[in-house]
Amino acid sequence: QSLPAQPFEPFTISDIRVDGLQRISAGTVFTYMPLERGDHVDQAAAARAIRALFRTGFFNDIRLERQADILVVTVQERPAINKITLVGNKDIKTEELNKNLKEIGLAEGETFDRLQLERVVQELTRAYNNRGKYNVAVQPSVTPLDRNRVDVQIDIKEGKAARIRHINIVGNETFEQDELRKGWESNTTNWKSWYKRDDQYSREKLSGDLEKLNSYYLDRGYVDFDVESTQVSISPDRRDMYLSANVHEGETYTISEVIVTGDTIIPHEEMERLVLVRPDTIFSRRLLEITSDAMTALLGNIGYAFANVTPVPEVDRENRKVKINFYVEPGKRVQVRQVRFVGNTRTGDEVMRRELRQFEGSWYSQSAIDRSKIRLNRLGFFSEVEIETPAVPGTDDQVDVVFKVTETTSGSFMVGLGYSQLAGLITSLSVSQNNFLGTGNRIGVAIQNNAYSKRYDVNYFDPYYTREGVSVGYNLTYYELDQSNFNIATYYADRGSARAIFGLPLSETDSVGLSFGIDYNTIRPVEGYTAQPIVDYIDALGQRTFHAWRTELSWARDSRNAYWNPTRGTYQRAAAELTLPGSTVEYYKFNYQFARYWPVHRALVLLTSAEIGYGDSYGDRVERVIYNEDGTVAREVVADGLPFFENFYAGGVRSIRGFEDNTLGPWATAELSNWRQPLGGALKTTGSFEAIFPTLFDTDKTRLSAFIDFGNVYRSANDFEFREFRGSAGVSLQWQAPVGPIVLNFSYPFMSDRDDRTERLQFSFGSQF
């Protein structure tokens, strides 16, 4: 960029001419150039014009000359980038690299500037160095094309990553190195390194680890602990890294006295009750933090959003004592002006606002906001809920609360069309949406149709029929199914049912459920192939269609902190179902479900769950004698207890994994076939221990867990036999796919009977109706 060499005598411009333009229009140059016709231009004005034109980034070279009174601007345009190709990048994917290049301004169609190449080499080298690849070689090459264009190619040779070979802490007298280095992110090469990459050096990882070292000592009384110096060195061939931290432990200190000062808002003694730090105990920064957090949280719950509690230590070095003064600064009591939502492209504002416990126009409460976050998570509509509390401009005691949500798919959608000689044309459609069109209502429609079975199912549920959260729902079902498809006995069941469901919230976590319904069942046994007990039962009752007025009362308590992958809280549901007198068979069924999530560690959540079901009839026993044609007694049949089509079943992907669906418990054979037909039973006792690893995958959508399932189904209560329990252990992978939840189980049934129908690999798709 050469300034006009000869001294530039000032003159007034009569006209301006621009030479050398290709892509850029004269209009553009005039827009950006601070000179117009009639301006008086001197050396400084010319320099300013040139600088302005350079800032546009379009030109390599700009020269201003004077021809009589015409100002001639000669420019040389920078070429446009035609194609960018990246070669040899493995560790960092091409799109990610392209994104970085775009930020530097290197993208197809943009103007090309040689300075950008410099920055590209620098950025890529830094990116690879951060991944421990110090031997990376970045070689950009530019090939000019016609019409002032260029192709840019960047060759990357990544080279081997430098591995941490040696980590050493010097000066640690009281604690062993492995104890101190537990939980560090940097580590020397070990068998897990191929996956965890913990032997790759990064400055952030090391500073995080040193902070852990600091906390380790400060939590054990070492007030004067200090990491005096750290050395990071690399071998000449750049393949091995060495980390060394030199520490000074100092002495342990005990607490001499604890006082609470400042404006504590609540009575002083009450605040002092929160203090965990006791005199004559070892100094521990963690206890200080927990105490000050507790005090801040307390104040935060009653309006003091900017409260600050600082534990001020007064160190008495001679006799190694520390006096702690918790200095409380409540700050102003804060009002919430507005509550806003960002990111809800589908879910309605009211559907979210009705879950919140923090109101607008009210004082700020941290626990109300935390509760709101949990309730939004429990809707299952969002993969992420973040909260920000920006101050209202121009005020010092008002904030807005902004909930940033990321929508996720909350339902499943399957359409099937097929043809088989056996079943003829097969059509199947199943849609289930937990957040139908963002209204928060749940809707499910399933239509299946083929020669052997029909199924129509519609259900609808509105969780907020009333403002307070009384929920109303209904479902209508009609199906004609061959039960053997579900591994249940061989008979056809046609069932039509209609049910209305109501829910009444009792507290933040408890609710009561009520449902009424009418259904009728037609059982069509297959001559000779239906299990004998079923045939006897029907013959005993002397009829095949059963209608029932069904009522159910249930109580549920749900304190889980998320819908898809909770890490804390319990879920309990107790339900009593009764068919009213006048139904064909009068029976009752109890069902109790329990699940508790124990947050053991950020990377491990234990889930203990159990289910108990029991049913029996309360009508009178029916006995009947069946006679052959010739009048002789064929058999005596009895119909008692829970009707077989209401039996509990166990086994399968969502019950005891490792066994085929519904195949556990009593079974029977038929006259003409000794195929074992599972009958289910009136008593069901199952349970499971599951270890979930939430942080194994970085997305919240996928979850891996190891489990032990056990339990069984029994014909009736007095058939319960602990030794009859089945059990299996294995690993389960759950993935929240866009189309619906997918579950994959690998299990080994370690407690099973010789002829149980086990299933090592199980796969289930779509949510259960």
Binding site: Q22, R23, I24, S25, G27, T28, F30, T31, Y32, F58, P79, A80, N82, K83, E108, G109, E110, R147, N148, R149, R337, Q338, R340, F341, V342, G343, N344, T345, R346, T347, G348, D349, E350, V351, R353, R354, F359, E360, G361, S362, F436, L437, G438, T439, N441, I443, Y460, D462, Y465, R467, V472
Partner: protein
Amino acid sequence: CGRWGKREDPLETLPVETLYAQAKASLEKGNLSRAQRVYQRLIARFPYGAYTEQAQVELAYVYYKSNRPEDATSAVNRFIRTYPAHAHIDYVHYLRGLINFDRQDGMVLRMARLDPTQREQVSLQQAFNDFNDLIQRFPQSRYAPDARARMMHLRNQMARHDLNVAVFYLERRAWVAAANRSQHLIEQYPQTIYTADALAVMSESYARLQQETLAGDARRVLELNFPDHPYLHGSWPAERSWWRKLTPFGSDKRSYYGDLRASS
């Protein structure tokens, strides 16, 4: 990789006029992905010339139509930076407003007559600013009138969002919240069709807060300007009918006095 019969990709050899014609044809036929690819190659191969400038405008339009707001916005911004004095620059500013104006979650919401103001408001404010930018810079542009109309619509949408929230709080006896939200509506979005409803909510809230003077004054302003408002003649806002809420398609769009005035 297979060398077999790899014939030269036509897009690499065709002259600029043919390329432009092909792209334009695909755009008219609605084949957005093909149009996009052809426009991109045209711009890359011919970095300057009238066709290229026009191609860049139409490429931005293709991104907008294929619901890719981020790409559309960056294409529009790049065009404005490179050709600030272009003849159709006002259209490009107008397009930038359209991108955010339509940034809803696809057709489904509109089709089901759901209340768009229940959804996210961030992009509406952005669209409003873009259109405002257009009528400031190019008051005589032939897109200015439509931009003004869309701005009015946006303001009504944003006002309706505030009204939804105000009524939400009114029905839950959070009267301070309801009063403040309606005040925000009146101050931020003056002369929208929902000002009357806001006054009604404010007056009702003050009444419940036993603030007679404030309630009275608000009511007087309402009576003066909107004497036929239902609040003055009985219970308002109308409760959603119990049976409509039972059907999945019971729309969550409440009708306010403002809607009637808008249609009359």
